[in-house]
């Protein structure tokens, strides 16, 4: 294992990837930290107070994993299509579809079916709903050549309107006060895996799913087809790959990922649907997938980073009185710098190749 890591790091491309990403992340946090001076908050003090509290309190520490759980899924939702050079930016809508299905099924079968079976049923139906909602985008892309970027974006707003409609009518809480659902029965909640925290089984599920998607992408013929379509669609078709089938399945898997994020939020953390909650989970998923360069395993680490930034941001708000928007400032800066680091990585690679060429000639 250690040897494997060593060989990975001796590969200059991988080393550049790690180094430039770390520099970009630090630069992003530094720049946003400097902006704290504008509201006369000492950024170093604020950061250290927040970090100390994350490190000393297991509840807060576990929150990083809790926040990362849905982000791993929305990250995967973007990453999987990204590998096929397709753009599913509708993870937000697929997430809301997932929350609606999860809460509706949990509420209706929660008291009838025993918990364990019930949770499996809810999860399966969420996957189906997400796969259909995402797969339809793939279908029109494959059959009609429609712009998937635009359609997935629009499908989010349709899902939001649909959710708001349900929260105003049939799914509205029995008290009828707020646009939110009732709380799901206790038997339908995912078990907590770390006592005294909110960390639930969903995190394990998220990590396993990411590993599975990685295996599918890099170790199966289907994954090869996905990447072939992504690298060069016309060449893939020439080689006999059914690109429209690949597109549809890729989008269905991607949609299922978005919906699963919703399932985990409903059955794992919130136990209900509240109008407009988690409004940035889709966009952050895109940032995470970019940070990971579309690699499912990388998505886990990137999601942990984003979860960590969110928790640090919350702690800073509580202990150092920074505004809540500061979290998004950090996330936006980090993502932007990571994108810029892609450019510098390319320049470094070109320079290295040039050097190799020059060395080769002079020998």
């Amino acid at each position: 294992m250690i040897n494997q890591i060593k060989t990975k790091f001796s590969d200059p491309d991988f080393k550049d990837l790690v180094v430039t990403n770390v520099v970009a992340i630090i630069a992003g946090i530094l720049i946003s930290g400097i902006m704290l001076l504008l509201i006369k908050i000492n950024p170093i003090e604020a950061f250290s107070v927040a970090t100390a509290s994350v490190m000393s309190d297991k509840y807060t520490f576990a929150e990083i994993l809790v926040k990362a759980t849905p982000l791993i899924f929305t990250g995967l939702a973007f990453a999987f299509t990204y590998k096929a050079n397709l753009f599913n930016i509708g993870a937000q809508g697929q997430f809301y579809i997932g929350t609606i299905v999860a809460v509706a099924i949990s509420l209706s079968i929660g008291d009838v079916v025993p918990g364990f079976i019930g949770i499996i049923v809810v999860m399966a139906l969420t996957i189906v709903a997400g796969a259909i909602y995402g797969g339809l985008i793939g279908l029109v892309k494959a059959k009609k050549g429609a712009n998937e970027f635009l359609i997935s974006m629009m499908s989010t707003y349709v899902a939001i309107a649909f959710m708001n409609f349900l929260l105003r009518t049939s799914l509205r809480e029995t008290r009828g006060e707020y646009p939110q659902t009732d709380v799901i029965p206790e038997s339908m909640r995912l078990p907590i895996i770390w006592g005294g925290t909110r960390l639930h089984l969903g995190f394990i599920l998220a990590v396993l799913t990411a590993v599975t998607l990685w295996l599918i992408l890099f170790k199966t013929p289907f994954g090869f087809r996905v990447r072939a379509v992504g690298n060069n669609a016309s060449a893939a078709v020439q080689a006999g790959i059914n690109s429209s089938k690949t597109t549809i399945i890729t989008f269905a898997i991607s949609g299922a990922m978005g919906a699963l994020a919703g399932f985990l939020v409903v059955n794992g953390i919130q136990y209900m649907v509240i109008q407009g909650y988690y409004a940035e989970v889709g966009a952050l998923g895109i940032g995470i997938a970019i940070l990971a360069n579309g690699n499912p395993i990388g998505v886990i680490f990137a999601a942990l980073l984003f979860g960590g930034i969110q928790v640090i941001g919350i702690e800073m708000t509580m202990r150092a009185k920074t505004p809540t928007s500061f979290t998004y400032l950090m996330l936006g800066c980090v993502t932007l710098f990571v994108i810029i680091s892609y450019y510098f990585r390319r320049v470094m690679k070109i320079n290295r190749d040039k050097k190799k060429l020059v060395d080769g000639v002079s020998k």
Partner: protein, 302 residues
Amino acid sequence: MIDTLATALMMSTPLLYGAISEMFTERSGVMNTSIEGAFLMGAFGGFVGAYISGSLLIGFIFAIISGVLLTFIYGIVTVKYKQHQVVTGTALNILALGLATFLFRVIFGIPVIPLKVTPLQTIAIPLLSKIPFVGPIFFDQNLLTYIMYFIVPASFYVLYKTSYGLIIRSTGENPEAVDVAGVDVNRVRITMLLIAGAFCGIAGAFYSLTILGLFTSSIIGGRGWIAFAICFLGNWRPYGVLFGALAFGLAEAIGIRFMVMEGMVIPNEFFIALPYILTIILTITRNSFNIPAKLGVPYNKE
């Protein structure tokens, strides 16, 4: 009825500003996917400028500066550094959200009562506004809507009848030829993005300074993306864009109208979703697109 149509025209104004600017950038071969963020920065900058100075004009100037700043960063990263446009846009949209909300807090602290400015008023044009039916719809609007009437023919003229328009169109279709002719491809694209930033800034400020008179972080709520879609559905042509903007403005006006009506058979959310559903249907059903050949492809000088 007349009210709804007048509202429709007003609501389509910012969409048209955004979509026309998107048309110009896409014609030059680069998508402005930071459009939602540019709208938000415009709404923010416009409100700040207007609130502090007390002048709407200064507000709109601030809006232009804020929008241009965002698209400038976008242009550097996508055109100069050649990074992926969808990906960069997403990052900038998150950043714009954080930046606008954070700076709002920096400037105003936590206000006890929501801060407001007096919105841009309508100016009834003498005589013309007295024409039955047409008058109250078209000639009792605000200044920016009046300017909108001229933007479409003007952009048609620039795009198809001037030499710079030809350069813009060629940059999107055949950048190599433009390069050979001695024109800097990247400079054309960045110029288009900066102009788009100005237009999107005004469009965003339209929400904070004309429609509402206040600023919230959710003020744009996807309207930037609607403008993005309108450019697409308008087939990258000025009059197509005009038609799209009017259709979406009308859908929005109908949504507002039904929101205040009680006991509706069709739920109000349906009308809110209608523009998005329409976009999906139109995107699927249209086959012949006038899509610029090099849209989204960075130009590499060999």
